[in-house]
Amino acid sequence: MSDYRFIGAPVERLEGREKVSGAAQFVDDVEFGPNVHYAWVVESPHAHALIRGIDTSHAQGMPGVVAVFTGKDFAGLHFGLYMKDRFVLAADRVRFVGEQVAVVVARSPAAAQAAAAAVWVDYEPLPAVFDQMEALKDDGVRVHPELGNYEHVPWFFPKAGTNIAHWRKIRRGDAAQGFADADVVVDGVFTVPRYAHCAIEPHGAVALFDQSGRLTVWTASQSPHTQRNLFAETLAPLGLTHHDVRVITPYVGGGFGGKAGVTMEILAATLATKLRGKPVKLCWSREQEFYNTYQRLGLRSELRMGVKRDGAITALSHTLYWDAGAYVEYGANVVNAVGLSATGPYRIPHVVIDSLCIYTNLPPGGPYRGFGYSEFLFGLESMVDKASHAIGMDPVAFRRHNAIREGDVLAYGASMNPNGLLEAIDRVAEEIKWGEKEPPSSSTALVGKGFSLLWKAPAMPPNASSTAFLKFNEDGSINILISAMEIGQGVLTAMAQIAAEVLTVPPHKIRVETPDTDRNPYEWQTVASHITWSTGNAVRRAALDAREQIFAVAERALHIPQESLYLEDETLKCRTRPDFCLALRSFVISGIQTEDGTYRGGPIVGRGMFMPEYASAVSDPETGQGGHPNVHYTVGAAALTLEVDRQTGKMRVRKVVEALDAGKAINPRMVKAQIEGGLVQGLATVLYEDMRFDEHGRLANPNFTDYKIPTAMDIPDEIVPIIVEVPQPDGPFGARGIGEHPMLPAAPMVANALEDALGVRLTSMPLTAEKVALAVMEKEARHGQTA
């Protein structure tokens, strides 16, 4: 189809050998020698309390203890990505169970842990609020009385004196008219609990503030430059500048959004500044990983949808109440992103969206693969089925009828990018054999099918950018320097393929490594599925820059017109001189020798940058109209065949199909791997994962014993990934991101399949076997009564 050599090729992962041999270094594997110091935090047992006093005297005197710090030591140090509402150590108030109130630094982990238990904190417990609807009440608990004073990005609209940290409003058309035009109006209320990322590597950070005043922090992070920026900003009162701060990120053992931004790393960085010359290591336990990084936000969504009998959606009202937790510095942008996109990939003329970011006394909510889209799609795509049933139309035909097209006006007024949504719908429907009934494997089982569309845009500041340096070596091999993080998605390989395509140097001769902010150029963060597109563009431009330098030096040295030059198989060739052939390795470092013995050129170093210059977050706060907050959407469709035992509620996914429009799959093998892995992660949030809090706001299952993530025995019988390729005009070779998208449709397609099989509509996630069995019992009891 294309004449690309490396783009679209199933190239093996560049870093594969390191990872399968055990050579790959993660942050906890980096050695710091015998002077390493270990930190352990003292955690709040209260969800909401004032700190009256802290007595560290006993802990200070314990064996091996080097120092104990409290909020007083770090007074005024607060931070946040989009809103500065978070503290390095709690100052006078704790807002969730597990929040760090003090920290012990000792010579061994055991000594630090023992001393932390001996720190005595005097709390004055306050009433706490764990439910976002409760938190909306006028007379209730205020989680952040100082909300009105917090710095935040200009596109947030906090309501001082309430628990509403941000309220994104979208108004398009005339909703009243839209509902009046409808033949049928359906409504529903849906709830989604909190979830944990469960990267297998817990967070860790080691910080060294050396004798010269330079701060280096090794972190397990998706966001090295954002971390450097926030460390420097937060520690500015101590006299630090960006120039003094360096972040190094070795391989990261899974991110899923949980290692985006800054959480516990700020503590390691700050501690180091108090312990000059001593490497301070802070590793989160699995328990802390669950309750003191970010959690996926909880959601209650209320929907109304108006439809005409001919199948057209006329109006949508979508209100989203987010349980965003005690600190929303990152989570509020999840709320914002969903507010912009809560129509789903549908053309709807009249839209009202309210997306409310609400503080509660639960752990901080934040980014999680999908950035809120999984949550709202559960309600929306359940409603789409409900609406199609209400007018007697096939749910897939209904989706196809209303599917958004290129050029359609989005809810906030911008226009939809080119996309392959219709192709995705058709290919999924065909592969899942939509409309065909399948027999169950036992007398108590039933089989249902469920369908869902999906879309998602990168959620990022309008000026988020990526850069790349590309340098040749003597043998014609290449090193690419970027600050996109390899978190498992295969970015190193994809970037090598992009450069390879431009420079004709095969990917296995290109090395791309994880970042060091002092050496690698700027990248906003590895989040939002924007790396392939954004960093890919930067790498492509760096490669083009290098190629231009190559052509230019050849012209200068050999007097061959640049326009006639091209690269092939690692050599420089000329269209007008078939005999001309110059190996890259012969000149990319040493230059080209001219007739008089002098040289032209020298080491070839390319540079590339990408920032979308058309994006803007400026819009009317009351309607959301006027800006261009999203660069583009990646769309897709998915369906599954579900067998369910109507007595036990036990479910088995017999087949699941998902088609994503990758624009151009740089490496189809890795795109398919994302789809397979993402679907399994998504299905787990539907079928059994669930964060449970007790009545005091304490997480009851901060471990894999009771927070169940899938094992090898819990995977669908068959997964069929489908790649659709409608190019993204400003993407590298047409590519756009697909990293988060695989898990988005999991919940609604299971809910829709359950209704298809059992006639029962579940509206509260997760859809466990227990809920299914009890719902069937309840339904049968109702029927028994009416019969």
């Binding site: 990267a199 297998i200 699995r286 679907l679 992660q681 471990n703 993530i709 995977i715 997964i719």
Partner: protein, 154 residues
């Protein structure tokens, strides 16, 4: 302190340990063998898997003193002479993404293939069920192990 002596990846090692020191911590922090990882520290995730006298175990649930006189093999020991066929199969099948679970997963699968050279899909899933992977969805891991079983057949 007790001095324990044990074989670590084929080399006799002696080290003084306290009774409460954990094998995983001793192997990683004091003996510098880094492939076993600390993922949960309570036996749930399998990233710390090593072979103890040839059987896969959770090194986070073993006191270092317990292995005195025994034999410990980590991924470094399994691959001492270069990547094994199983590791090559992991590469060919994309059986890892972030790579954090890979060492434990490969150690567990190595034990399976030694004891059961031609495992069924059910046996593979059962054997790997104690090693958590959040990235791949497991299918590529199962396929890598299966490909070895098939290779033995040929």
């Amino acid at each position: 302190m007790t001095t324990i002596t044990f074989m670590l990846n084929g080399e006799r090692r002696s080290i003084a340990v306290e009774p409460w020191e954990i094998l995983l911590d001793v192997v990683r922090d004091r003996l510098g063998i880094k492939s076993p990882k600390a993922g949960c520290n309570r036996g749930d995730c399998g990233t710390c898997t090593v072979l103890l006298d040839g059987r896969s175990v959770r090194s986070c649930l073993i006191l270092a003193v317990e292995v005195d006189g025994h034999e410990i093999t980590t991924l470094e020991g399994i691959a001492a002479d270069g990547l094994t066929a199983l590791q090559e199969a992991f590469l060919a099948n994309d059986s890892f993404q972030c790579g954090f679970c890979a060492p434990g997963m490969i150690v567990t699968a190595t034990e399976l293939l030694r004891d059961t050279p031609h495992p069924t899909e059910g046996q593979i899933k059962e054997a790997l069920a104690g090693n958590l992977c959040r990235c791949t969805g497991y299918r590529p891991i199962i396929e890598a192990v299966q490909s070895l079983g098939r290779r033995c057949h040929e």
